[in-house]
Every structure is written in structure tokens, then in C-alpha cells.
Symmetry: C2
Subunit: 173 residues, 2 copies
């Protein structure tokens, strides 16, 4: 069960570079795809840059709707993460196919993904980089996290099926 996260703490979730699942909604239908290429841009309000491949159905949806949800999965969803990147939402209902559960968001029409330990509701605030770089600059307008999850085993993409496993925390002296 996710609880609300102060927006000023969003950077602690995304700064380490986890693979995320982008969920979106068009005309009442949901779609979902993984992306690895994101960066925090500002702390509060949290601004995030997300590269979404322009060959994807998600790209078409979010270019139109100007909103999506960034969901952060852990290694227990590795099959779904990889699989969602191989199928197209134009042909398949990926929520159904990969047994993921959409739940309503508070400020956008795109759904939160229940199985992910964190979800960030986002609205596009700058479209200047979309056509040249597929780069959407978004503002996080609401954030949700499962408070009980310590050192979540996030996935950090190397290439193809290969990921680095996050989780182990180290502290600089």
C-alpha cells in the first residue's frame, strides 16, 4: 500500500538511475513501457527528464495527453519489465498480459501500477526537446511510495536483458 511522499523527496527515488515503467492512458485505455533514460532536473517542484523512444505507442500517447506516471519496479518484476519493452501497446493490453494492476492516480488520467513500490504522477511542462531528442521534461505533481520498502532492489539497465541490481547501500565517510 503506497502512501503520499513529499515532493521534495522525489529525487531520492530517481537520482540513482532506476529503470522505470511509464504508464499512460488514452481514451480510457492504459499502456505501459519500461525506460532507462531518465534524469532528475530539479528538486522541488521535482522536474524530471524522460527519453521515450519515438517508435513506441507510449510516445504517441504522451505527446498527445501530456501526462504519464513514472512507476519504479524492483527485481521481482524483472520479467514484466523486460517483457513490457518487447510488446507494443498498440496490439496488446500489456497490463493484462503481464498481470499488472492499474489503480487510479490523483491528478492525471494515467494509472499508478500497484506492483511498483513507487509511483510519480507527471505532467509535461516543456515540449521543446521532444521532436529532436524524444526528451519529455515533466513536473511531478503527486508522488506515492510504499514506506515499508527499505533498500528496494531496483533495476539499473546495462543493455538488452542485462541489469545491475540496486539495493545495497553504502555511505561516504
Amino acid at each position: 500500500m503506497k502512501q503520499k511522499l513529499p515532493l521534495a523527496e522525489v529525487y531520492t527515488l530517481l537520482g540513482s538511475g532506476p529503470v522505470v515503467l511509464i504508464s499512460s492512458s488514452l481514451k480510457g485505455k492504459y499502456n505501459i513501457m519500461p525506460i532507462a533514460w531518465t534524469t532528475m532536473i530539479d528538486f522541488e517542484p521535482p522536474i524530471v527528464g524522460c527519453c521515450i523512444g519515438d517508435q513506441s505507442y507510449t510516445f504517441q500517447i504522451v505527446k498527445k495527453t501530456k501526462e504519464f506516471v513514472i512507476n519504479i519496479p524492483t527485481v521481482k518484476l524483472i520479467k514484466q519489465v523486460y517483457g513490457c519493452g518487447q510488446a507494443s501497446g498498440k496490439k496488446v493490453d500489456k497490463f493484462k498480459k503481464f498481470k499488472l494492476t492499474p489503480i487510479p492516480a490523483s491528478k492525471v488520467k494515467a494509472p499508478l501500477v500497484k506492483e511498483c513500490f513507487a509511483s510519480l504522477e507527471c505532467k509535461v511542462v516543456d515540449t521543446r526537446m521532444i521532436d529532436q531528442y524524444n526528451l519529455f521534461i515533466v513536473k511531478v505533481v503527486a508522488a506515492w511510495v510504499e514506506r515499508g520498502v527499505k533498500q528496494p532492489k531496483t533495476l539499473h539497465h546495462i543493455s538488452g536483458r542485462r541489469f545491475i541490481l540496486g539495493g545495497t547501500e553504502v555511505v561516504a565517510k
Copy 2:
């Protein structure tokens, strides 16, 4: 000892979200600082987005010179990584203070950092996002990596002194 890396493979180094050390050069003097907020933007030529805080001396240098090197450290440099973020290059020679070794790059004046297992020579190709977001869009023009380093224990920033330790690789089935 680093060897040349094909530019098409740069994304395998940066996509997982490691903390990097940005080295720069102004009038023959070197500077270095860590940043956590980067993203791959394109594969080849490799395009990368780097957020560099506008309060930093590095920001001033790279806004002028339009070039820098992205160096990737591992956990053995965690003290230097954290320390370089606490000191300003305006007052201190951080290469000297943190016992880091600058070595000449091939296509930019900024130096490679010998102690990092990978170094990417970068030139700024798009300045439109600098003033509003501190976001430099760069092209990697030469890449170097220590081929012997398997599963490098990269650092992935959470907040303050806290990092996630990379390294352990998992493969989606």
C-alpha cells in the same frame, strides 16, 4: 589502463545511472565535481544530458568552454566523490587535494581522470536548456574504458552521503 571504446557502446556505461565526475579545464587549470543527474539521450553518436548545478565553478567553466569529460568512478573512490562535491574548485585544486590524476584527453582540453575506469570526452551540442534547467546536452566525441573491469562497483546516488552500490548483474529470462 584505458582503451578506446566504440561510441555505440557508451550507453552501456551511463544507462544504469552511475554518479560521474565531471572534469573541466579553464586557462590550463583543471576542475572536477561529481554529479548524479545525467541521462543518455541517443545511442550513436552518443548524446547525453547532464545537469550541472549553476552555483558550481564547473558550471561557469563548461558554460564558457562548452566541453568536459564524464568520468565514471567506482566505490573505491567514494571518499573522493563525496569530497569533490563539498569543496569548490574556485578555492581548491581538487585534483591535488583528492589525489586524482589528470591525463590528457584526445579531443577536448578537459582531462581524463586516471583513477576512473571509464572516461567520455564530451562537447556541448545544445545550449537551449542551460539557463532554465542547468541541463547541458552533449555529444560524446571519444570514449575510454578499462577493459578488464567486469561488473564495476559503480555508485548510484540516493541523497547526501548515501549511495546504492552497483555491480551485481541480473539477466531477464
